[in-house]
């Protein structure tokens, strides 16, 4: 993160200056030598596929005959941008990201605050909290899909027995319920991640600051709002960025729970359907590029919003 070398203090001594420059140059060279393998690996595994996708997005390539593709210009992009189904998937994705990340942040913060207190068996509780995060998404999605089953799922059974509902709810079938079910499963899975990141942030805040503030004002809520929360802001920012980017490219959970259903398809489900099921590799690539641009724009926005607060502190 920091600059490689401090700048020379004085400009009045040219000989020392030259030596300094040589030294810096040497270090820079070494730095490049060390970074090069990573950069090359990145170019190969990220850059090359990205460029290939970009190239395919301007062709009419089909999955089963990738070689015989001809150039079609912007036609794929125009088709996708004119497709109401695409915009539906964009709306679903953005709504999903906003609602799920919002809930995860609030719940994660609560869990982190609880875990930050002195209590017995803290290590054990912390490990237990991580369990949902540790289960592979496809497996937890499958578990949720059985729990959500309307006639023999455990969730309806519980609600029915408690008398909260008198008819089973079709969680995954009814379009108005399936979005909530999706958010619920995602919140369950990723709140631990949020909690852990925020806990790390909380532990960076010196205890003395907290104690001094509490002596001054007395109110715990005010201490939290005025002292803890602002000091936690940088961590919170990073955590929210991580989660939002993850939520925007979410695929596994929605695909296992709800499949290709048009009313709940996210951008990635839309892309996969074009690429794989319809064999329209060109159009699917155009969708992938659009998703890339979309997420890139989000990242840029976030970084801009986030930077000033860091420089202030």
């Amino acid at each position: 993160m920091e600059a490689a070398a401090p700048r020379p203090v004085s400009l009045a001594r040219p000989r020392l200056d030259a030596a300094w420059a040589a030294l810096v140059q040497g270090r820079v060279l070494w730095a490049w030598a060390f970074v090069a393998p990573t950069l090359i690996a990145l170019l190969l595994v990220a850059g090359w596929p990205l460029l290939t996708t970009l190239r395919f997005s301007f062709t009419d390539a089909s999955l089963l005959s990738l070689e015989q593709a001809s150039w079609v210009g912007l036609a794929n992009y125009l088709t996708v941008l004119r497709d109401p189904e695409w915009w539906g998937s964009v709306r679903t994705t953005v709504a999903f990201a906003a609602v799920s990340v919002g809930l995860e942040t609030i719940l994660g913060l609560i869990v982190a605050l609880v875990l930050d207190t002195e209590m017995r068996a803290r290590g054990l509780v912390r490990a237990a909290v991580l369990v949902p995060w540790a289960i592979p998404t496809v497996i937890s999605a499958k578990i949720w899909s059985w729990m959500f089953n309307d006639l023999y799922g455990v969730i309806n059974a519980m609600l029915l027995r408690m008398g909260a509902i008198d008819r089973p709810i079709a969680w995954l079938a009814d379009p108005s319920m399936s979005f909530s079910a999706l958010v619920l499963a995602d919140v369950w899975k990723t709140t631990p991640f949020m909690a852990l990141l925020l806990l790390a942030g909380l532990q960076l805040i010196p205890k003395e600051v907290d104690e001094a503030a509490r002596l001054d004002s007395g109110s715990r809520v005010r201490t939290f709002l005025r002292i803890t929360l602002p000091l936690l802001a940088p961590t919170l920012g990073v955590a929210v960025i991580f989660r939002t980017l993850d939520a925007l490219r979410m695929f596994d959970l929605v695909y296992v729970l709800l499949g290709n259903n048009r009313s709940t398809a996210t951008m990635t489900v839309y892309a996969r359907q074009r690429l794989m099921e319809f064999q329209e590799f060109g159009q699917g690539s155009a969708v992938s590029v659009l998703i890339f641009v979309f997420i890139g724009a989000f990242t840029a926005l976030y970084l801009r919003a986030f930077r000033p607060s860091r420089e202030k502190s």
Binding site: L64, L151, A173, L258, G259, N260, Q273, M276, E277
Partner: protein
Amino acid sequence: MKRALLISYYSCLLVLPALGAPKLTLSCGSNGIEHQMCEKAVKAWSKQTGVAVEVFSIPNDSNDRLAIYQQFLGAGSPDVDVYQIDVVWPGLLASHFRDLKDEIPTAEIAAHLPEYIRNNTVQGRLVAVPWFADGGVLYYRKDLLKKHGLKPPSTWDDLENAARTIAGKEKGMYGLVFQGRAYEGLTCNALEWVASHGGGTIVDEDGRVSVNNPNSVKALTRVAGWVGSLAPTGVLGYSEEEARGVFQSGQAIFMRNWPYAWALLEADGSPVRGKVGIVPMPKTALGDHASTLGGWSLAVSKYSKFPKEAVELVRYLTGAEQQRIRSLEASFNPTIVALYDDPTLLAKNPHLKVLKSALASAIPRPSRQTRQKYNRVSAELWNTVHAILSKTETPEVGLASLEKRLVSHSNGGKW
């Protein structure tokens, strides 16, 4: 020392693959006891021939299966030698499979149901050998119908009446379950509803989009009326196994499913054992019994490293002996015509009689007309039907916009 080690290590890497004995990989489904059946059959064959076979489990959703296959075949991967393929895929994947016409004795080919051989022959090449036949059938609870003095339904009206009568008297009973999740299974169900109301086959023989007609509207209006009353709302999220779960645990009177469910419903410990009957899918005054043609075949990859062994494996698995075992133990229906007259099979699987007549009048999905675009057509159809059944669109509006979208894909009927 180190150098010698390194050299021997690398030479091992180079030599090993060349020394490898033939080892085949067979892709095989895992609905119900399908996977166990595959393992068993393959083990028996390995014992006979000494060739090892690995069974590669594929997902239950046929859309996912196709996606995996396309990735393997598109990349020319030799990892899977024998593919289990759906009745709608030969046209799509033909170029990646070996022509088996000259590699298998003609008499063996002629023993299969001619519908399937015709379906699997693409531009004169036999790209797959039929393995098991499938068609939609209606399961019903014999015991309940008898108790209430009702006969197995022959029309949709009969079915609705029976379901209402019984569901009114038996607590916690739903009338009917089917496959309503937005996926290929819903396309199969919808085709039966539409065809049995005289609404045609979505895209007609000449490639013209025919889905938007008053009879289709009638069919879908009827089905949309079931959801939330005769059928649980959750049916909109069911594929085959979820529907079977509901029926087998005794919570539904009727179920539309494929014949594979029979063996499971009749298995030891099944709550509905001995209480189930099968009839052809109901008809109406407007149209006849309609059963969507399904079924799976085995194809040999062009990229297989051991094509000779792979063809032998296909011949063994699709042969009369194996088909008979699979029919007896797991109710996979034979594609070999002679087996439909086998008394032992008929005793164990009385539905074979129903199926034989269903297959004779089965409706193929419009995959031959729509070729490369079939998946797109099917996805448009199931999405529209799902929206109609969940009442976010009326049948009239839904079918009109479906027609418009299909026509825009149809390339003037040439697809």
